[in-house]
Every structure is written in C-alpha cells, then in structure tokens.
Symmetry: C2
Subunit: 429 residues, 2 copies
Amino acid sequence: MRMTQTFVPVLKESPADAEIISHKLALRAGLIRQTAAGIYAWLPLGFRVLKKIEAIVRREQDRAGGAELLMPTVQSADLWQRSGRYDAYGPEMLRFEDRHGRNMLYGPTNEEMLTELFMSAAASYRDLPKMFYHIQWKFRDERRPRFGVMRGREFLMKDAYSFDVDEEGLRRSYDSQFEAYLRTFAALGLKAVPVRAPTGPIGGDLSHEFHVLADTGESAIYYDAALEDISIDDPEAVAKLSATYAMEEEEHEKVADCPVPADRLLKRRGIEVGHIFAFGSKYTNGMGYSVQGRDGEQVHPLMGSYGIGVSRLFGAIIEACHDEAGIVWPRQVAPYQVGIINLRQGDEACDAACEQLYGQLTDAGVEALYDDRNDRGGAKFATMDLIGLPWQLIVGPKGVSAGTIEVKNRATGERADLSPEDALARVAA
Amino acid sequence: MRMTQTFVPVLKESPADAEIISHKLALRAGLIRQTAAGIYAWLPLGFRVLKKIEAIVRREQDRAGGAELLMPTVQSADLWQRSGRYDAYGPEMLRFEDRHGRNMLYGPTNEEMLTELFMSAAASYRDLPKMFYHIQWKFRDERRPRFGVMRGREFLMKDAYSFDVDEEGLRRSYDSQFEAYLRTFAALGLKAVPVRAPTGPIGGDLSHEFHVLADTGESAIYYDAALEDISIDDPEAVAKLSATYAMEEEEHEKVADCPVPADRLLKRRGIEVGHIFAFGSKYTNGMGYSVQGRDGEQVHPLMGSYGIGVSRLFGAIIEACHDEAGIVWPRQVAPYQVGIINLRQGDEACDAACEQLYGQLTDAGVEALYDDRNDRGGAKFATMDLIGLPWQLIVGPKGVSAGTIEVKNRATGERADLSPEDALARVAA
C-alpha cells in the first residue's frame, strides 16, 4: 500500500486525555480515532492489526473444535428477563426502546441468546457435546471509559460457549479452550499467564483469567516461576498450568499460606485479556432447557463460556511491545511487514528504486507500506518508527548511486547497507 | 466439517411468518434464526456464506483503490445535528441515551462520521483523492421488518466514501465504484442491472441502483436488451452501461418518450442490492470542512457514497438461485463445495469410505461437509438438497462393494457412478 493512497494521520503530540502508553501510541500512529467517549474508529492501519488478531483467535477456536456463528448486537430484553440477569445487570448495560416501545439492549455478552438458539434445537445427549464461538462487537456503558480501546464502551470480543451432558465433558471443553488460549497468546507473540480466578456473577466453580505480561499492566500477579518453564507443546501443559500457583494480588493476599517458596514466587504486572468459566447448568436450568440423557432421564446440559477481548488485545500488545520511538509490532500482527522510506521523493533514481522494491515485495507476497509522501527524511523516519513495522527499507540518493539500500530492524535497531536482492531476502525471511 | 460437530438445525416446515422463498429456505436450511423482530443470528452455514459474500465485496473494493477502515456502530447525535440529518431522519433511526444522558444512535449510515474523521486531518488538495470503505453492521428500525435478512433491522452493509477536489475527480471515483459493483455481482454469480436512480434524501445529481435479476424480485425494471451484451471486461463497460436505458417501473412510467424500441425493451423483476451516489459538497460544506485547492483557494471536497447490502445479498442470491428442493448456491459463495452423504452410518465399509473421502477432500483444500448423522438416507438426501452445496457424494453399501460413489451435481441434477478417484477429480474441478 502507498501511504498516499491510505490514511495514516500521525500526530506530533499525544492528546491530553490519553493516560497510558498504548492509548497515546495508537492515537499518535494514526491507528484509531475516538468518535465518542470510549468509542473508536479503526483507521486503516489499526484495522489491519485488529483483523490479524481476530484471524489468529479464529484459527485457534477452529482448532479447538468451535463452530463459528454470528449473533446480532441488539438483543431483546425478554431473553434477559428469562435468565434473571436483566435486572441484575447494572447501568453498564445499554438499554433502549425500539419504535414500538419494546425493551431492547446492546448485548454485553451472549450466554442467554446462544442457550436459546442451541437448546431450542437440541433434544438428546446425541446432539452434544457442542462448542460455539462468535467474534462480535459488544457494548458496556462504562461510567468512565478510559485507556483507549483497553477499556472502551464498544469493543470486539470473541466469546465461546460449550454444552456438555456431564462434568467430565464440561472439563474436556474447558481444557480445550484453556489450551486454545495458550496457543492464541503464543501465536500473537505474547507471554500470558493463566491465573485462577474467582467466578463472580457468571457463577460456577472453575474459572481462569489470562494475563498478558507488561510492565505497564493494570494488575499485579503472583506466580510460581516454574510456570515459565511449561511449554504449550507439552501435552500435559493444561494440567501442569492449572496446578501451578498463579493469583492476582487481591486473591494472593487472601491466601494464608502460599505454597510457593519465596525464591520461586514472581510478581509481575499483567493485563487481563481472556477469561474462561465453567458454570454448569446455570442458564440451561434457569431458562428451562434440558435434553434426554443416556438413560432416558432429562438433564440440563452443563455450559462454559470463554471470552477473549480482541480489541483489548490490540492495546495490550502495544503495552507489551513498544519503546521510546513508538510501537514495535510482533511480526504476526504488524499492519505491514516492511516500510519503504523514500528519502527524496521526486528524485528519479530514488523513485525508480522504491517502485521496484515495492513491486518486488508485492509480487513476493510481502505486505509493504511505501512512504511516498513529499516529506522530509527526518519526519519519515519518525513516522515509520512510530508505526512500528518490523522492517524498514531506506532509499536515499547516496545508497542508490552506490547500489545499496539501508535495511533497519525495528526491534533491534540493527542497520545494514545491502544490495537490493539481499535486502529483499532479509526482510522476506 | 462433520455435521455432528457443527449446527445445522433444518426445519421440516417453513415458519408461518416467512413470506418469501429466500426467507423460507434460509430458515428451513438452518442458515439463520430470528432472535427479535427483523434481527437474525447467523448460524454456522449461513455465516460461512455471509463471509464469502463479504470477501468478494472486499476484494473488489480493494481493487478499486479503497482503503478499508472500521467505524463503530454507536454514534453521537451531535455529529448528526451538525449535518442537519438528526431531525430529518425519521423513526427508522434507533436513538437512545447513554448512562450520562447523552444522545446516541445506532448508525444507519456513516457519511457524517467519515467526513469528520477524514476532513479533520485533510488540509490540502494533495491529501486527495481518497476512497474509504468499511463493512459494518447497521440498524434501521423498520416499522414492519420482513422478508428475513432482505429487510431486517440489523444488517451488514459495505459503505464506501470518496473525496475529490473537483467534478472530474468525483466522476472518476464514481466510475471506479460503478465498475467495482459490476465485478462484485459477476463474481457472486449474479446478473445485475445498473438502473439510473433518483437521488432522494442523500442529495446530489448522479446515482445508480444495482438490481439483481430474480423472478421473485420486489421491483420491476425496464431496460434495453442491448445491456445484456455489454461485458464487464470491456474497458468501456461503465460508459456504455451508463448510457444504456434501464429504469425502475415507477421512473420508467414518468418517461414520456422511451428511447428504446418496443422489441428491445425488456421487463424483468429485480432486487436492489447496491446504490451509489455522487452528491458533491453536501457534507463537507454542511459540516464546514474545506482544503486548500490547487490555486490556494479553499474548496469543499466533493463526495460520493457507495453502498452494498451484504446481508441483503445473502437473501437475493437465494431468490435468484433455488429450485423446488431448496437452495442452489453459486460455487463462489456456497458454505461448502461438497456434501458427503453416508447412507449407512455405522456400517464399517461405508464409514471407512466416507472418512477416506472426507480426508482426501480436506487435504486437497476442498471444503466438505460430511453428513455423519444417524439418519435415514431419504432425510439426508432432502437435507443436502435443501442446503444446496454444488456437489454431493453419496456413499452406500451397494456402491462401496462395487467400488463406486454416486456423484450428484446439485444444479443440473446429473448423477454418475464413479470410482473414488474420478469422483474426487470431478468435484475438485
């Protein structure tokens, strides 16, 4: 993509209301813009990152056996009255009437709706187990939205729901999502810690939160250093991680006798990006749904729900991956892999060299962003560092006459003057 | 995908409130479910079709030079007060207050928001031309939603917006979208007719609607038969089509002297699936935005907007592509390319033959849906015809012992008994 064809409105200054680094950088790099309190538009570069995060989440949900569907954003209040949550849910729920005066709401989550969709068609234990997920915009009318897309009001979430006939099945579903979460965060280039969580208003007795480690994280977590040695490729990873100590500060402080020796107890800051629950028959029972069990009796299927904050991950990744100069995107979610900087736009030789590089990268299937604006070199360097693509190809008159291009690795800062062929090989590797 | 792993709740009877064939078939085939009046959940098979339509729309928007972004569903009323449309828009606009009493709305379209997003960052004619698009859920609170997803309240739409400094540029942008629309509908396997349209409340003086031809279409259109001979691969296609007579009935009847000879004037039924407008400076001027022009003067950029009803297309395709037995999906948007019918689930040889076929198709990258349920052959035939995948592979005890598989083409009804190798080659072609 050529910079002149897309829209990257970088800002020199951070807007005053941006409190945390991910919010500042996302605004400065022209990735998002606020359109109302806690509500954001995803500009072209930010949108590409969001789609890449979404694609990785989807891939791991598919691998876990989830069937993807899509539920609408607007829900009927009736549904929530039947589960008893309509009155229980606080002012975070955005409620309104439609033109006929019917009570509606913008869904903050979908337990009720999916229970109704699936259970109204399920008759027998043979229709189970089943795992569904969708990736959809949701709304929570936060009293004080802040931290950019990390705590926005309109946010993108992956929520999955499992239905099983017995506890053993529920545990299998829960563990398959647990593993999917480990794979998802690893594929995003993040370090995530599963923390045993209190179950709260969703109910049930088994729950984990997943925290991405970042020095600027909102919460403190305590965990056994042994946790860092467990690989997701270990077939026992879920069992080992579930058994390894990890708690949020507030919960940790309630533990009278921490089983982890002091020299192995780590304290790190984290950002919650996922939360999974096994809550059993709360909704199937509450909403009056059952299936015929194996012995002919009626049973209320046992459910779990499994959320990942997709738009929140966007912020969490920036919190975990940035430096003084700007964002340092992990390769997996970078909006483009390579940025081409033309130091003398309008110079025939520089333009030709850039066009050739851009064409070759495009032909090779390497996503490239070509800064073809009429701007000073210094401004282009700063913009490209801010945007944070993994590689930069810097084309100037000196290099062009010497037959070289400067290749810069954004993460390490390493630079090398290479022939165009070697430069292409380096960034495409 | 195995039928037992996904969720395809087919219905024997059409729900009484489904008036048109696409609505009946989409419900019966388990593609969608209504969750509130005019609001639908997209079940796994329907969701796959929707995503494929979306992907084709996206590809052609990218080709037309559009930069994709994503604007939120919830908008501030302020924005619409500034353009003057807040009061003008009728009860179709879903309005509500947030917890702080601020007036908000669920966006029915995005002219105001994108004008603000882009124009607040554009300073000069050098920042133009620019074309943006997004594919996002929108809401129109129809008084009487009906026809399933063809006229739902929450619907998925692609809307694009162009900004140019002069009329010539606007016309170029308009024509590039016109061409993108022709390519989009052709790629979807549809016959679409561009009809000159009155501009209505969006204003401006150039507008076309695109109607998909279907015998069950909601509107009658009159057009010159010559239109059917114009290929989109003709570089002059846009100019020729714009100059060829095509009108909706209501407009046609106002034409005193139709220029098309009676023997060339066709009357067909159509479904409106796209609408493009060149409306000039209505919003930039109305909202007080300008850029510096080529000669230093301030100019209000000229805009166009370009909509495609993505979820509406889902219904329109079914209207155009069905028969007595069910849906006949065009290959390009079919949820899967091949359905495998196991006539004797539990029979060792049949199960093994089906598993092998399923594995081979999956390995070859051919999307297959394997009906592995315990059900009678007759029910499986009816379900597969209803769902409408392009090919069926029918595996029964007789064929398996003879070393053959029955291959059925859903559209033509042609059947052949082939060796497994030939069957795979046939459906993968």
